[in-house]
Symmetry: C2
Subunit: 352 residues, 2 copies
DNA sequence: GTGAAAGCGCTAACAT
DNA sequence: ATGTTAGCGCTTTCAC
């Protein structure tokens, strides 16, 4: 029999033991003011001896300082990947509202660098307590981050990152590994001779290619394990949904031997119409991310597996962890928080 | 651009708007006392109009009532399944200590019904605010729950449940489905002709067989999809680790054609020695639950996949959700909380 | 550099 | 049946 009860020490106990006031203990813990080294030591000693840890409820309740966070992510349409992210941020902001957090989410057009620059300038003028963003435009993100550093504003990355920068926190999967996992799933059942990698046609002028690491993880895996396998790339145009079916019919007409199909972006559901119209025994289709439309395809049985993680949860955790760091004036326990990748199939689709 | 800020209404605002005192609002919200229907309506109206929701930080902080929870689960050795569960409960109790929760965990011997009865009697005499347990001994659990109902003590199940009983909450996977998922994983790569199902030899007198539903899910799947496949059962004795290797060598010596091996309990790591000593190309081994030892086998590559979920998290969520219900005097949003089943392979083992 | 004290929003015991 | 009020443990402003 084990008993857990709960007479935890309070800040008052620490103050008493250290022979100082509660205010001083608070200063020591969070580095909120100048405290003499001597008092600092006494307080740390008392904390240790009492095994004190702050009551977060009281802390949140009493905290009256306002923290403004800015978020800079791609704009989206209903059901898109970034809508899920957005929802996660909103949920975090709501749940942390008792911490006096407010969040401003800025959206930019992934096809338009200028929109990114415009929004990032807007954020700078807001002087937020912290910024959280993804890193599609490498160069511009770097420039923005340097400015943030200049203003002493900490920033965090979600989904992808730029290793060279001094970010506070990263939350996301290892994209390269996720690509490899997708390749494994695709080839687990049967060895591939030819693979179709379906990609999204994007405006050739735009500079972002956020899925590159994942794609490389995918193709490296295939090259390593199936060196004789040929990967065919076919582009479909998400802006012209009506064209997708015929593009695919024409492509697969020319490559009748392909049984393995993958899409390394989040929109494998775009294949739905084609797959439904051309059922094929022994064909395997994999995709990424748990968009509702993707899950529906999985359920329907026209795609076989998804590599994903809880998107909103990732955003939620990123913001709350980042906020905790800033409020507590701390660095995070882990700077890089790699998120576990889930494998989703028809067999374990429920309750996700 | 979206802005989320946070001027949430307080209980004071609600009281003012409804023209009553804060105490009354509290009574209405949590049904803590007698309030006239008229005031009740006024308060509900004010809550609605202000979109009020209680500040949980303040709530937890102010709550001084003590809640004693009792937990009744199997005893365990280091690294066992139930140790993980136990850890989850402990973590929940710690995190909720500011809610004045204390937890008493009772352990019984899964081989010994009497120990279960003894511990359950002890719990009854403790008169806890709630009891959380698993349901290995169907009959005795039922009797115990009836007594709890008689004393007005709510109870929750983890891991498995007895549908007929009036439990407050259940947290766990659908065990039947988890078995089917295991079977799918086992047979995904190659069709099986013969399967070895390795089971634990247990004292024949003991009444518990907690893995039966999972085993049935497993075998039903195989029968459905591979009707010609023969499932061989072999028992190993976990109490005599030294005997396992020879048992398996003898068994597989007699069945040299077997390439598919499954264990539907949590201890697939017990096969480690045999698998390591007898490597075999094209053999597939699957197991259940993310015990550290199982994960090590997965990493080593001697087993191929695990079906699992975050065990401590499941316990954690079960206790915290249950406690919330009791403290708030509410029923849970979902009585049955089916947990998602994760597929773990070498490819997505990291960061789990 | 440090202490004192007024809240934060809520609960629960005590009044009425 | 409803109002009043003293805390819960912490933050933060204001004094010194």
């Amino acid at each position: 029999m084990q008993k857990i009860s709960n007479k935890t020490a309070t800040i008052f106990d620490v103050a008493e033991k250290a022979g100082v006031s509660r205010g001083t203990v608070d200063r020591v813990i969070y580095g909120r003011g100048r405290v003499s080294q001597q008092t600092r030591d006494k307080v740390h000693k008392a904390i240790e001896e009492l095994d004190y840890s702050p009551n977060t409820n009281a802390s949140k309740l009493a905290s009256r300082k306002e923290y403004a966070f800015s978020c800079l992510i791609p704009e989206f349409r209903k059901g898109d990947y970034w809508e899920e992210m957005n929802n996660g941020f909103l949920a975090a902001a709501r749940d942390y509202s008792s911490y006096n957090i407010n969040l401003t989410i800025h959206h930019y057009d992934q096809q338009d660098v200028d929109s990114f620059i415009r929004e990032s300038e807007a954020i700078l003028s807001e002087k937020p307590a912290g910024v959280i963003m993804n890193t599609v435009f490498r160069e511009e993100v770097t420039a923005f981050c340097k400015k943030l550093e200049g203003s002493g504003i900490p920033y965090a990355f979600v989904d992808n990152k730029i290793d060279e920068l001094d970010y506070t926190l990263y939350y996301g999967v290892d994209p390269y590994k996720s690509g490899a996992l997708g390749a494994w799933l695709l080839t687990n059942r049967t060895d591939p001779e030819e693979i179709a990698l379906v990609r999204l046609l994007r405006d050739p002028s735009h500079k972002a290619d956020p899925n590159r690491p994942r794609r490389h993880g995918f193709s490296d895996y295939i090259e390593d394990f199936f060196p004789k396998c040929k990967i065919h790339t076919v582009f479909i145009d998400p802006e012209k949904p009506g064209s997708i079916l015929s593009t695919l019919e024409s492509f697969f007409g020319q490559h009748p031997g392909i049984r393995h199909i993958a899409m390394t972006n989040s929109r494998v559901y775009l294949l739905g119409e084609y797959l439904r119209k051309h059922p094929s025994e022994g064909r395997i289709v994999i995709g990424f991310d748990d968009l509702d439309k993707n899950l529906a395809c999985l359920k329907e049985g026209i795609i076989d597996a998804l590599v994903t993680r809880h998107i909103p949860l990732q955003a939620y955790n990123a913001l709350t962890t980042f906020a905790d760091c800033i409020i507590r004036n701390r660095r995070p326990a882990h700077k890089n928080h790699f998120v576990h990748m889930d494998i989703l199939t028809q067999m374990n689709l429920d309750n996700y």
